[in-house]
Symmetry: C2
Subunit: 306 residues, 2 copies
């Protein structure tokens, strides 16, 4: 009626052994059991697979063709079963969404660390703003996201990784004109440049500077952090620079000056998010641990530098 893997397994053994009895032995079943399954397979395929002779069997043309398919199918399934054992972490590709103000600064180190770690998982990165990657995560198009917490969405599980503090960034001239001690909410919003709408960093910066104080005057809607950095370097205003991005941005904008805020320093919480599910997922914890280690190390470096 229907072809089964068992039938294909028995048939492969029969073709290899050339004899029903020996084939049955290698399959650890009785000879009639194997005979019946071969007959069943022949009935399904509508033709003989082997010529039965007194001392041996010979494959028919159909049998040879079926044998090839059987080989392919069985090896595919065997690979599946085998991968179940040898799998550390998980099989397959983990689709990871990362927001643009994190991706270029965290991923180089993070991917290197993942590659080196025991959890051998392939990662496929999707870069997108918070809402977009969270939508994809919810739909099932992504497996996890790295972004600023909290997400404030239902059905998601958040795991904090590290704190990314904000530094004040400006041109040398502007920064020298500043007083020594700066409190974030003392910044006049008119001085602050922000990324274009949609970047969570924009909202966070507004929150840090105390939105309530007056109407924000966003001079430029820069589309990326490097662009924003260049504008600030050129003296068009100040901005809040995440520590995470500091080293890279300084390398590209030598005229930029950074200054730490007084304690308590404002920060964004970087976290890993996945769909909430009751069943434990091996890879999530391991991935988060690795990212946490990498992220904290980067923060250490940043604190030594500024």
């Amino acid at each position: 009626m229907t072809i089964t893997l068992k039938q294909l397994t028995y048939f492969k053994a029969l073709a290899e052994q050339g004899n029903f009895r020996r084939a049955a032995e290698t399959c650890f079943v009785s000879q009639p059991a194997l005979s019946v399954q071969i007959q069943e397979l022949e009935r399904s395929l509508g033709g003989a697979l082997v010529e039965r002779h007194a001392r041996r069997i010979v494959l028919t043309p159909l049998g040879r063709e079926v044998l090839e398919t059987a080989h392919r199918v069985l090896s595919e399934v065997a690979a599946l079963e085998h991968s179940a054992q040898n799998r550390q972490g998980l099989g397959g590709v983990l689709r990871l969404g990362v927001i643009p103000t994190i991706a270029p600064y965290l991923l180089p180190d993070a991917l290197a660390a993942l590659r080196a770690s025991d959890i051998s998982l392939d990662v496929q990165i999707t870069e997108g703003k918070t809402d977009r990657v969270l939508d994809q995560l919810t739909e099932g198009a992504l497996d996890a996201c790295i972004l600023a917490l909290p997400t404030e969405r239902d059905g998601l599980e958040e795991r904090p990784l590290f704190e990314d503090r904000f530094l004040l960034a400006g041109s040398a001239a502007r920064m020298e004109a500043m007083e020594t001690h700066i409190r974030p909410d003392a910044l006049s919003e008119r001085q602050i440049l922000l990324l274009e709408d949609g970047h969570c960093l924009t909202d966070q910066a507004l929150a840090v500077c105390g939105r309530g104080r007056g109407h924000p005057r966003i001079h430029m809607g820069a589309s990326s952090l490097p662009t924003l950095t260049r504008l600030v370097e050129a003296g068009f205003g100040l901005t809040l620079m995440p520590e995470l991005a500091a080293r890279s941005e300084m390398a590209l904008a030598p005229g930029l000056r950074l200054r730490r805020f007084d304690d308590p320093e404002p920060f964004r919480a970087i976290g890993l998010v996945r769909r909430a599910t009751r069943q434990p997922t091996e890879w999530f914890g391991a991935l988060a641990d690795t990212l946490e280690t990498v992220g904290c190390a980067l923060m250490e470096d940043a604190r030594r530098a500024v």
Copy 2:
């Protein structure tokens, strides 16, 4: 414990439907039946394949990987089952052995006829002398052979196809010196050129000429019929030319002359041979019928020509 095609089928349906109940419906089983098989598959693979959410499911990375394999495996098996229906004649490649004194003369027409016929079978030709192809047939390395009957071996089934009569061939000078009516056994053996040992044609020619009359004097052990033809054309003696080869050989050796023997003309019986097996083999009869038709047509032509 072991992966089954049923599990893969159910899993594929689940991935497509995104929901256990609908997947179960498309498989025409109850929801618990499908649930259990999915759990079984997950147990075999040692990891979750789907995340269970309230209104839908999402594949895990492992699930996506398994789904790809499942697609490949199921489509291979489906192709097998499907080919069982659409198969005319047989599937696969028929390995056909043919002796050298038949192959080049019969095969061009025969293969064309097979290609045109409804029995769509791929044929792979092995050319070799009688003993060699029969050994391969017995071993199972060939499925059938075209050669001169009888084979006089056990375990083989012979099917006569057509009679290939022998013509007397010689140079123009020699043939003009011959009397009008020739009886085969009247030929002096010393005039006759034969192929080298191993060709059945050699034995047949000796039998035709009445071996008992005296010691055969084989002037040349030619390795192929075309070679033999050239020697004869050059006047080195006479030979027996199978009607089957006559047309081709005449084209290559314009100086050659052919003469029919008086009735009863000597001939070799061309037949198709396979391993004897009690189970009926669809292709054998169909193949034999086609070959018989082609062979008889060639014989008709030959008789009109000489």
